[in-house]
Structures are given as C-alpha cells and as structure tokens.
C-alpha cells in the first residue's frame, strides 16, 4: 500500500446496515473523509451516526458495502485499518476498578504498540490527567472519565480520531479544553471525525459537515459552502408605525410581518449577487412605510441543519 496524501483517509462505499429485527439503520452511505480535516457528522438522535462510526471502527458489521481507512480495507486488512483509528465512544464506558495509568497501558498494548511511558505521560499531561494517573477511574468525575476515554483513544497514536458526542454532559471549561485539544491534534496531522449535539461547536470547529437523517447521508459539504448555499439572510426593518398587514402592492416581495406588527422581515438568498435591498427600500418609501432601524442576520448552521432534516426527501437534489 502506498500513502497518497490527496486520497481520502476514509472512504465509505455503498454501506448499508440492516439489523436482525429488520430496522435499516444505514442506507447506501457513500462518504470520503479528507486527510487532516475536522469532519462533523450531524444528525438527530437515531439518525445512524453512531452506527456508521461503529461500522468504520469494526464494532458493528455492515450488511453490505466497503470501507477503506488509511488505505486499508476495514474487513480484509482490519489490523492495519484499526491500528490507524482511535475511538472515543459516546457513553462513559470505563474499567471502573482500574487506575488511569493501567487502563492507558492496556489500550496501547491492545492496539499492538510496545509500551512507551513517555508518550503516555504526554497524553495524560495534555489532558490534565497526570495528577490522576494512580487514581481509580471510579473515583473520577464524569468530565475526568471523558478525558480518560480520550486518552485511551490516543494511547496508540492514531492518525484518525473518532469523537462520538465527546462533549455531551461535560462542563463548559472541559468542553473548551477538548476543542483546544482537537485543534492541536488536527495541527499535528490527525484527522478528526466528530458527532455533536452542540451544532455551534461544529460551526466553530469543522472544516466540512455531513448531515445524516434516517440512515441517509443527505448532504456533505464544506462548512462555508454549505452555509453560503443553504443559508439565508434576513433584513429586519423596525417600523416607525406598526402595521396590521403587508400592503398588496408588496406581495411580490419575500416579506413577513412580525406578530406585533412592529417589524418587517425580508428574507433573501445569500448566494444571490443582487439582493434587491435598495429596490425594496425604494418600494417601501413609495408606499409611505417608514422605518427607524434596520439590521441583517444570517442563518446559523443550526438553522440549516433543522431545515435539512425537516425538508422532504430529494429536495436537495
């Protein structure tokens, strides 16, 4: 196998997963993850995010399809593929009675690496766990246990790191620490794939976004492109005099009146070269509608996400 830096580090091809009970968790998933990027996989609960991650990592068998990780087929060359991957699971699964140091040593050995105390010390120090190295995991707080899981995932020096809802239930400080660490990992060349419920974090962190819903990957896009393509801008005009309805002459404009009648909201496509704002303002003036303030706003990734998962199938194509 030869390493090609421009080739995707993970390539998911036609993956389906149907459980024994008949439930189809994944439907024909095709996805490429670029080497060195932070990829955010978003989707509502039960969308198939964890199933997809579990299949890539070897925890769950796919019904059909293939996955290449770091150049290796995850089934045929599972040893090489899995050696490249670290996984931080969603749930706090830990060996409660073990010490932090012992569980890290176990993880490194399990993944086929010789003992390296200096490296493990660095991992623990980076995660502010060094002082806890001799503590039993059961004695740690939830946030600390989460750090231990990250340390375990990093113990064998993976080039791909999966973070499945890593900040669920952790405090703000730890969350910020984690995202700092993710950025550092990316800077060192690690590819990071994360799922999160905090969409603002994906907005802040990710290079690319994938949205999965009901087992289908409905969009994969560069974050900036996604927000430009699917985002909307709004111009809010605070009226000098409240209105009860929009004049019929302005029906051709994408205008909405707020409930209290004190503001008009004009929605326009951020992709359009010509927003026609000046034309709208002239039309308002012509009809004697005066305003005392105006502001523009842009849809967040969360707005885009909500609209994506609620729009009918095929609407994107």
């Amino acid at each position: 196998m030869t390493t090609n830096n421009s080739a995707p580090i993970i390539s998911v091809n036609g993956v389906n997963k149907r459980y024994a009970g008949g439930f189809q968790a994944l439907k024909d998933i095709n996805l490429d993850i670029k080497r060195g990027e932070i990829f955010a996989l978003l989707g509502p609960n039960g969308a198939g995010k964890t199933t997809l991650i579990s299949i890539i990592c070897g925890i769950v068998k796919a019904t059909s399809g293939t996955i290449i990780a770091d150049g290796y087929d995850t089934v045929r060359d599972y040893r090489a593929a899995r050696a490249a991957i670290g996984l931080v699971p969603q749930e706090l699964h830990t060996d409660s009675f073990e010490s932090v140091w012992a569980t890290l040593k176990f993880s490194r050995g399990l993944f086929g690496k010789a003992s390296n105390a200096a490296y493990l010390e660095k991992v623990l120090r980076d995660l502010s766990l060094w002082d806890k190295r001799d503590s039993k995991i059961m004695a740690l707080s939830g946030g600390m246990k989460r750090r231990v899981l990250i340390a375990k995932a990093l113990a064998h020096e993976p080039t791909i790191l999966f973070l499945d809802e890593p900040t669920a239930g952790v405090d703000v400080e730890l969350r910020h620490d984690m995202w700092r660490m993710v950025r550092e990992l990316r800077a060192q060349g690690t590819t990071v794939i994360l799922t999160t419920h905090y969409i603002e974090e994906a907005e802040d962190m990710a290079d690319r976004i994938g949205v999965i819903n009901k087992g289908e990957l409905i969009v994969v896009e560069d974050k900036a492109v996604l927000m430009r393509k699917l985002g909307q801008k709004q111009l809010t005009l605070t009226l000098r005099q409240p209105m009860t309805r929009i004049p019929a002459e302005l029906a051709g404009w994408s205008l909405a009146l707020t409930n209290d009648g004190h503001a008009l909201v004009y929605s326009f496509d951020s992709q359009e070269e010509e927003t026609r704002i000046a034309e709208l303002l002239r039309a308002l003036s012509k009809h004697g509608i005066e305003f005392k303030d105006l502001r523009t706003s842009e849809s967040s990734l969360e707005d885009i996400f909500v609209s994506l998962v609620h729009q009918p199938k095929g609407a994107l194509s």
Partner: protein, 253 residues
Amino acid sequence: MNIYGIRAIYHFEMARTFRTLWASIAAPVLTTSLYFIVFGKAIGSRMGDIDSISYGAFIIPGLVMLNLLNESISNASFGIYMPRWSGTIYELLSAPISWVEVLMGYVGAAATKSVILGLLILGTARIFVPYEIAHPLWMIAFLLLTAVTFSLFGFIIGLWADNFQKLQVVPMLIVTPLTFLGGAFYSINMLPPLWQKITLFNPVVYLISGFRWSFYGVADVHIGESIGMTFGFLVICLTFVWWVFKTGYKIRN
C-alpha cells in the same frame, strides 16, 4: 500476530486476580482445606480405603478437579462478561486483534489462575494428607488440558450470559452437581450397577477418573476414554467459539 495485544489482555486479567486475591485464591484454598479437615481427617479416618488408597488421599484429585472446573469457568466467563456488561468491549472490538488472540489472552489468563489454584490446593492437601503422584507429567497435562477446556467453556458462558445470574447458573447448577456426582468423593464402582451405567453419561466422571489415575494409577474408567473425552470437550468448545466469532453472535450485531 498482535503479541502486545495478547499480553495486554493477559496482564489485565491477571492483575484483576491479584487485586481480588482473597476472593480469587484464598477463599477456594480455605474452602478446600475445610474439605480435607472434615472429609479427609474427621470422617475419612473412620472410612476404609478405596482401591487401597486412604480416603483422605482418594478425594484429593476430585477436590482439585472441583475447584479447577469452577474456577476456570468463572474466571473466563467473568473476564469476557465484564467488558460486555460495562461497555468497554467496544475497545476490544475496535482493536487490531483477532479473536484467536483475544481467546489466548482471556483463556490463557483464566487457565493460568486455575492451574495456580489447583497447585495451591495440592500443596495445601499435603499439609493434611500424605499422597504420591504416580504420573506427574500426566497430572500436569490433565491439569492444563482441563483448565484450558473449561476456561473456553467459561468464555462461551460469558458471551452467552446477559446478566450476572446466568453467569452463575452453569457453574452452580450444572458443573458442581456433576462434579459431586462424578466420583469426586467416591469410586463409581461403589454405586449400584444401574447407577454406574447412568453415571457414565456424566462427562466429569472421565475428568476425575483420569486425573485420579495420574495420582494413583487406578481409575473408574479407562485412561484412554478419559483423555478422549477431555479432548472431545475441548474440540466442542473450540468449534462453538469459532462459530461465535464467525457469526458475531452477541458481539458485533
């Protein structure tokens, strides 16, 4: 081969034993000592020899086997059930390690613990009862073979069980009664003819008989049958484990 992976599992499991030394080692040794005191000394002194062997010495192979079977099963079943129960099995499933290597780690550790315990019980027995080992190499071979076979059996139980009760059901309700009825405390030749025939359906009879033969050169059934039955059970366990890993039964689905 992922040698580091095998070692990691093996050391992890052995560390668990040393962490729970009283429950893992001291308790079975103490219990067996009580057997020797009650059956070997107090009651045994009033009983006649069996096959020219003092009663105290006669029960040694049976008691070792009783502990060996139970400890092998419980060590291996607990070893693989705990990660399933706590959820840490995700790490095992996502690691670059084959199931043969996983087996080597878990079964190797469980069998090691059982053999250590068996040898400790033999050492303890020496305090209470004088005995000779006629075929020491065969004794070691039986000890190892039985420990590995029943550790494999325990591993299967650990995969099958979905609660702690199920984990205990097979050792408590099947293996212990079969051992007690398998000639641990008596020769099956002492039973009425009909019961002698029925007893031959108990696989533990062959294990205890073979193990006792390695000590005293006398057996309830032919030594060849004992070896054959032990290997037969090993093959059955290996076949089942192979099927489990091939299908991902209760693991990857």
